[in-house]
Subunit: 297 residues, 2 copies
């Protein structure tokens, strides 16, 4: 990787006029019918499903965000399916954001970094990691636990999206307290501090933030606290967020916000009817147009 | 599993007079020499190493705690090695605590629960999960994100250890703030609230807490806030914690605290010399005796 993540992303966003990231949270009980026919076991059917979704929706997207939990629950074969997703994403010219929300003490954080963006030296040679272009990280363990992840991201030209304010309803009790000095603002200041030295030519940093689209009222304040961070914005669609409300994310750059959407795209045929791939392609392009309009308004 | 996790653990602690949990954080560049000879690739060497460590130290332990990051970094083969660890742990009559510190929005938390203690329905039948007896969880996303993990733990007779105060130095900035109402106390109250309904005959709950042994000064307050929680205590040995300082954990029951130790046992031969297995067995038994004395003092 010759360019840092933020600059690669910024170029791709402008080229494709898109801020859409295809979320892949495959439910083995609700795969596209063609994938089940093509598979030989659940994990291979999941791989077929994800590959078809990337082919269909990819042209309207800049990235793909597999949810690691959905692959881990299928064991070693599930991890192999995840490797197929990474390869297909790269073949499609898209960036891979591994969504695992990892966080652990420094020595273990280093192992997660090896798993996601690095490699692991061993007695039979070096074992390659997943080869993600970026990943999500949980900051509860603090600065020293984030540092190995950030160092690895910087070394590999990758990005790290730190949880700041998540999209679920229950987030408020922990992340919005105590009143007056909410945790999400303290996390935002930490993200800014760690990310500022890694700001690229685009004005965007390799260290971004996960900021749920379900609380657009918080975005302006978070943008003020993190002027260089790319906001990864889950929660549009099924969770109730709307792209029209996310303007603050894009103040600094059209790539200042990424709209992560999974069910609204992959399950579009359930509402629209017809072929899953055609429905996903149409839904992704509509979302792309809406987001681009909101981002450049 | 006929009995709930806490009661199974309590019985095992009393039977073995041990609170020791063998941590497995295998570094492929520092495996026991016999494991490298027996392996055919890095992941299989890691599996041999872990199996040998469980055989050697297991008799002094009640549980085994693999660090998921160290297996994930070896890809699909690493996940297969993790499955060998689970099987070997159960064959040795020990409880398996999967240390992944997962945490995500509710729909994804449910997928992690399937991966760790449940199973996943799919078009080719049901895919079994890892089969852990307990797992660690990150509470940053709040109550609704913990609930699917806790429900799954309860349904499968498993345990869930929620991060409350981790053992790393950087934890203070996030978990000990703001002064007067530190996050770790709010997390402790949440753990108590969620765990109290799952208290077994032993007086211990299926919902435990990760409380670093590096801050023994906090343990009495945490015990007062969480009278039924089993404390999983990392940080003894290499990180500087000492079993003699952990008395508050054991106030409620000899199984009220679990001493998680990895490097002090698995790498004991580096300081003691001699055969790694013999050194690990001796180190584990010394730690067992010291912990039992501290717990029953």
């Amino acid at each position: 990787m010759s360019l840092a993540f933020a600059d690669r992303l910024a170029a791709l966003v402008e080229e494709r006029r898109s801020q859409i990231v295809l979320g892949l949270d495959p439910d083995p009980a609700a795969l596209w019918p063609g994938a089940v026919e093509a598979g030989t076991d659940t994990a291979s059917a999941v791989a077929h499903h994800c590959r078809a979704a990337i082919y269909a929706a990819g042209p309207s997207c800049v990235g793909v965000k597999p949810q690691l939990a959905c692959f881990e629950r299928l064991g070693a074969l599930g991890w192999a399916a995840l490797e197929v997703v990474v390869q297909t994403t790269h073949e499609a010219g898209l960036l891979l954001i591994a969504d695992g929300k990892r966080g652990d003490v420094p020595v273990t954080a280093k192992a997660y970094a090896q798993a996601l963006v690095g490699e692991t030296p061993g007695p039979y040679g070096t074992v390659p990691g997943l080869g993600a272009d970026a990943f999500t990280a949980n900051p509860l363990l603090g600065r020293d636990a984030l540092e190995p992840l950030i160092e690895a991201a910087a070394a590999h030209g990758a990005g790290c999206f730190v949880l700041v304010r998540t999209s679920n309803a229950g987030a408020a009790e922990i992340q919005d307290t105590p009143e007056g000095d909410p945790l999400h603002e303290r996390l935002a200041r930490l993200v800014h501090e760690l990310g500022e030295p890694l700001t690229g030519d685009s004005g965007l940093s390799a260290i971004g933030a996960v900021t749920g689209a379900t609380r657009p009222d918080l975005l302006q304040r978070l943008r003020d606290l993190m002027p260089h961070a790319i906001f990864l914005l889950p929660g549009v669609g099924a969770q109730g967020g709307s792209v029209e409300d996310l303007g603050a994310a894009f103040e600094v750059h059209p790539a200042g916000g990424l709209i992560a959407s999974s069910r609204s795209i992959v399950d579009a045929h359930r509402e629209r009817g017809g072929d899953p791939a055609q429905a996903a392609a149409a839904a992704a392009d509509e979302l792309r147009q809406a987001a681009w309009a909101a981002a450049t308004a």
